[in-house]
Symmetry: C2
Subunit: 252 residues, 2 copies
Amino acid sequence: MASTDGDRRPKYQRIADTLREAIQAGEYVPGDRLPGENDLMNAHRVARMTARQALGVLQSEGIAESRKGAGVFVRAFRPLRRRGIQRLSQQQWGSGRSIWSADTENRDLVVDQVQVTEEAAPEHIGAVLDLEEEGTVCVRRRRFVLDGKPVLLATSYLPMGIVAGSAITEENTGPGGTYARLADLGFKPVHFREEIRSRMPSKDEARQLGITAGTPVILICRTAFADEGRPVEINEMTLDAASYILEYDFDA
Amino acid sequence: MASTDGDRRPKYQRIADTLREAIQAGEYVPGDRLPGENDLMNAHRVARMTARQALGVLQSEGIAESRKGAGVFVRAFRPLRRRGIQRLSQQQWGSGRSIWSADTENRDLVVDQVQVTEEAAPEHIGAVLDLEEEGTVCVRRRRFVLDGKPVLLATSYLPMGIVAGSAITEENTGPGGTYARLADLGFKPVHFREEIRSRMPSKDEARQLGITAGTPVILICRTAFADEGRPVEINEMTLDAASYILEYDFDA
DNA sequence: GAGTGGTCTAGACCACTAT
DNA sequence: TAGTGGTCTAGACCACTCA
């Protein structure tokens, strides 16, 4: 009998390992309900907090997610593919298409919330955009929803000195979107820089994206440059990491 | 007196919020020790598990990290900048420099472990690389260390049919690295694709990278293509997300 | 050796979900 | 309404760190 085993790892880790292996072996598939706290207490003769800790391990690994009052379930991973470079090529926004449509791959990514305001530039924004004195910025905040689930928050900053009076200050920027309007204004973006990092979400980000424990966010900060290296837009994006794969294609 | 407040948020959340605000207000700076479990029990009149939960919130957010027997400390974030496109331009590896050296920005990023083997190709690798029948791959596994801390695991797969007998199968690939050797062999990489995602680390990844709770990993899968779109290398990288900012610069 | 975080027990009450 | 996860208490012992 191996019941009095000499394993020196914590009980909750052993329980978590058992469940993880069962998931990886296909005994539970995405969407399945895992044994609950009560099940684990009985099966492994442990206290509630210990069973709870075991389930917490899987949640913090992003393998499982709990639904209050219902149970703990195996998570699915079905991401979007976001092509970082092709999506910003001339053909895309030069020909009347909104750049975001390239994201969807026939899935239903739509704008959920839009808010356009004029604000004083945050310090880190003003330091990059060349603002005239009294420089305010046009701030476009949008949330994107995929299949009913929020997956992307985007906040775009543009110098008011450039975009005042244009459709960029409207909720609907018209065919080709913001970049086509910038081109109309003589500030056609010709170069982009995207900076990417990842971390755990703040409470506010988790709320807005409906993120469960164990899921990081990806942050993309894109700067668009017009001729002569003039920065004309900064777009700060927050992505649910479980919903995205980013792709960059380029030549040597 | 506000001691019997009507706040309906969990105690541990309120305690965590208090600490988080103190950190953001600069009362604690990176490296500082936060109040411990005992301190919080006394200060907020709660049980150990509740104080513990509060500290757990900050750790899972990546704001703090615990050191056994020592305390809970505010974390620092001092990332490397990895330039995804410039680093692979001709000048870099065409002129005798190892591409990784562009990563460092005067910081000390060095290879810590190298392992070169010949193996049967994993299924997802063989499906992308054009392997001859009996196709094995040269597998180069490396770990990179920054200031004594591991930050990057890289596993590179190359078709044995191409690289057999070359310096690519040695630990030291010579000036210009793997890509210069591929060029010598007539398979100069001319196009790259990098796919990026992020998730929480597996236990093994966390161990190899020395990752603490609350830190995701970034996964980069790079495919290098020679002429006629022939894939000649797949490099799967696992990055400590707290150590990296990725950058992609490109024209419209 | 004093203090710290890590694990664990055995209870309890609550809000929520599903039926 | 029965079952679920979420929160919380009041203890306990351990391994570890640091002075």
